[in-house]
Structure formats: structure tokens, C-alpha cells
């Protein structure tokens, strides 16, 4: 009986040691993560972290890029057709008297340059792998004021950065 008793005690001691070892190990590994899920949920609930699946991110990214490019194009087209150029005020000397005359410069050119740069793979937080694509658009419009002989040039740069999701294997 004494031998059985001793064996049981050793067994219990070893179990206690094993329990202490495993508990310490698991707490060391996992305790640091406690609180993350609640923080993520609160951000989600507050709409601070709109969640998208990686493939949706890609579709959204492309959609947003397309929509932005289209809107830039539309706005630009409307602006080019309907916007009145800045009216130049030219002073004309007639017989010693000074009068003002409004002269509308003529638009002589509009150029839109696009450049798309694939900046490589990145990891977007909580979204997985994605490619970062930078799209640079430079719009240049030129007018010519026939009366003063002045060339007017306006350059408008735009830049978009789009994350395009890639499937993870």
C-alpha cells in the first residue's frame, strides 16, 4: 500500500508540475493577445474598420479607380466644354482714353497623361496580400490670348493609390 501511495504521490507531483508548465507556457503565448478581438470588434461596430475580403478589395479597388478616373474624365470634359476661361482684362489705349475690353482667350490644347505604376506586393492589415498600384494623372490645358499674345497653361496633377487584392494560396 505504501508503494502505491508513493507512486500516486509522485504521479500527482508530476501532474502538478506538468500543469504549471503548460499553464505558464499557454499564458505566455496567448495572454498578450487578449483584448485584440474586442478592439477589432469595436472598430468594426463604429465603422472605423470597414472589412472587406481580399477579392472584394480587388474588385472595390478597381471599381473605385474606374469610378474616380471616369469622374475625373467627366468633370474634365464638362470643364473643357463649358467652363469659361479666365477673362483677361486688357487695357486698350484709344486717343488718350483708357477703356477696358474683355477678351476670351482660345483654348488651343488639352493633354491628359496617365501613368500607372505597380509598386509591388504589400500586406494590408486584416485584408491579406495586395498589390499597391499608383496611378498618376496630369492634365494640361493651354489657352492663347490673341490680343496680348500670352500663352496660358494650367497643369492639374492627380494621384490615386489603389490596393488590388490578390488571392492567397
Amino acid at each position: 500500500l505504501n508503494e502505491v501511495d508513493m507512486s500516486n504521490r509522485e504521479h500527482t507531483t508530476e501532474n502538478d508540475a506538468l500543469e504549471a508548465l503548460l499553464t505558464a507556457h499557454l499564458r505566455g503565448e496567448l495572454d498578450g493577445l487578449v483584448g485584440r478581438a474586442e478592439a477589432a470588434f469595436r472598430a468594426e461596430a463604429a465603422g472605423e474598420l470597414p472589412r472587406r475580403r481580399p477579392m472584394r478589395l480587388g474588385m472595390w479597388g478597381l471599381w473605385v479607380a474606374g469610378a474616380m478616373a471616369a469622374s475625373v474624365g467627366i468633370v474634365w470634359g464638362v470643364a473643357a466644354r463649358h467652363a469659361e476661361p479666365q477673362k483677361a482684362i486688357t487695357q486698350v489705349v484709344t486717343g488718350g482714353a483708357v477703356t477696358s475690353a474683355e477678351v476670351e482667350p482660345a483654348m488651343v490644347g488639352a493633354v491628359t497623361q496617365y501613368q500607372t505604376i505597380d509598386e509591388g506586393a504589400v500586406t494590408v492589415e486584416n485584408e491579406g496580400p495586395a498589390r499597391r498600384v499608383r496611378r498618376e494623372v496630369v492634365q494640361t490645358v493651354q489657352w492663347y490670348d490673341a490680343q496680348s499674345g500670352a500663352d496660358i497653361e494650367v497643369t492639374i496633377p492627380h494621384e490615386q493609390v489603389v490596393f488590388v487584392g490578390v488571392p492567397a494560396f
Binding site: L26, R27, L33, V34, A37, E38, F41, E44
Partner: protein, 189 residues
């Protein structure tokens, strides 16, 4: 869980189903460690377990309307955590960050030998846990991390309390053998 605990749980779940974010946050606080245990048992990697748990709770929030019996929340959540962990394991390969994970902390930095010992100890425990089958590993993690009863573990894993006890007993035996040196060192301290 006693009746009172069941009622409190049911009340929280019912409120959360009505999109009460504070109630759901309370559920997260209550079950996050359990969820971490389940995810860790499946993934064997703390960082990815954290990701899985985060994802699982967000899924649970979105699918809460599907939960018919509020008192079954723990088991239902456990299923979501398992599925997310399995998906994550399938999609991603474990990052070889053991060395990063084993970087000495401030205290160990002044004693590199202690840091290495600790890293080796972690590696051995991870290997021993990894040698268990998945259900037994889950039972061990939930018992020794969350101190859950066999009945609670059984509910989470979909097995009886007696089956949990049997698995825990066998797992302890296997772990004692694999970690004999460490266990005997600790036992003699």
C-alpha cells in the same frame, strides 16, 4: 454553467442579437480566452490564433441571428472559431517566426543563456502539444489555459465529459513522457 449564468448569458446574447454592441463586447470579453485556446490548438501559432479569433468574433457578430438557442453560444462560437482556424491553416502557411517569437525580452536580453533556454523550452512544449491529436490538444489547452471543466470542454468540442477526461488522462501521460526532463525539474523545485 449554473442557471443564473445561463440566464445572464442568454440575456447578453439576446441583446447582442438586437445589435447591442456593448452586449457583444461583453461576450467577447467572456469568451475570448476560450476562443484563443481553440484557435491555438488548431493552428499551433499564437499570432495566427489571434487573427482567427478576431475574424471569428466578427463572423459571429454578423451571423448571430442564426443562433437559435442563446445558451448554446459557447459551442456555436467554438464551431466558428474552428472553421476560421481551419480556413486560415488551409490558406496560409505558418510564418517561420519562431525565432522572432523567441527573441529575448528585456529581462532575458541581459542573460542570453536564459533566453535560449526559454526558447528551447517553448520549442519542446510546442512540439509535445503538436504531437497530440487535435481534440486532445484542444482539451489540454482549454483545461490548462482556461481551467474549464470537463463538461464545458465537452460542450465546446462536441464530446462527452467522460471522453474529455479520458483524452486528458492519455494526453497528460504522453506529455509527461515527452517533457520528462522539464516536468521532473519542476517537480523537484
Amino acid at each position: 454553467l449554473d442557471d443564473g449564468a445561463d440566464e445572464r448569458l442568454a440575456s447578453l446574447v439576446t441583446r447582442a442579437k438586437r445589435r447591442d454592441a456593448a452586449a457583444f463586447a461583453a461576450l467577447i470579453r467572456r469568451y475570448e480566452r476560450t476562443a484563443l485556446g481553440i484557435a491555438y490548438a488548431h493552428l499551433g501559432d499564437a499570432s495566427r490564433a489571434g487573427d482567427a479569433v478576431q475574424e471569428a468574433f466578427l463572423k459571429a457578430w454578423q451571423k448571430l441571428a442564426d443562433l437559435a438557442e442563446p445558451v448554446r453560444f459557447a459551442g456555436w462560437l467554438g464551431g466558428i472559431v474552428r472553421n476560421v482556424a481551419i480556413d486560415l491553416r488551409r490558406k496560409t502557411k505558418p510564418v517561420e517566426d519562431r525565432e522572432i517569437g523567441s527573441m529575448p525580452d528585456g529581462r532575458e536580453a541581459s542573460d542570453p543563456v536564459a533566453g535560449l533556454d526559454r526558447a528551447e523550452q517553448r520549442r519542446q512544449i510546442d512540439a509535445a502539444l503538436g504531437a497530440l491529436d487535435e481534440v486532445s490538444r484542444s482539451a489540454v489547452v482549454l483545461r490548462y489555459y482556461e481551467n474549464l471543466s470537463s463538461r464545458e470542454i465537452g460542450e465546446l468540442l462536441g464530446i462527452t465529459a467522460a471522453a474529455v477526461d479520458m483524452r486528458l488522462s492519455r494526453a497528460r501521460q504522453q506529455l509527461r513522457t515527452m517533457l520528462a526532463t522539464m516536468v521532473s525539474e519542476d517537480a523537484t523545485v
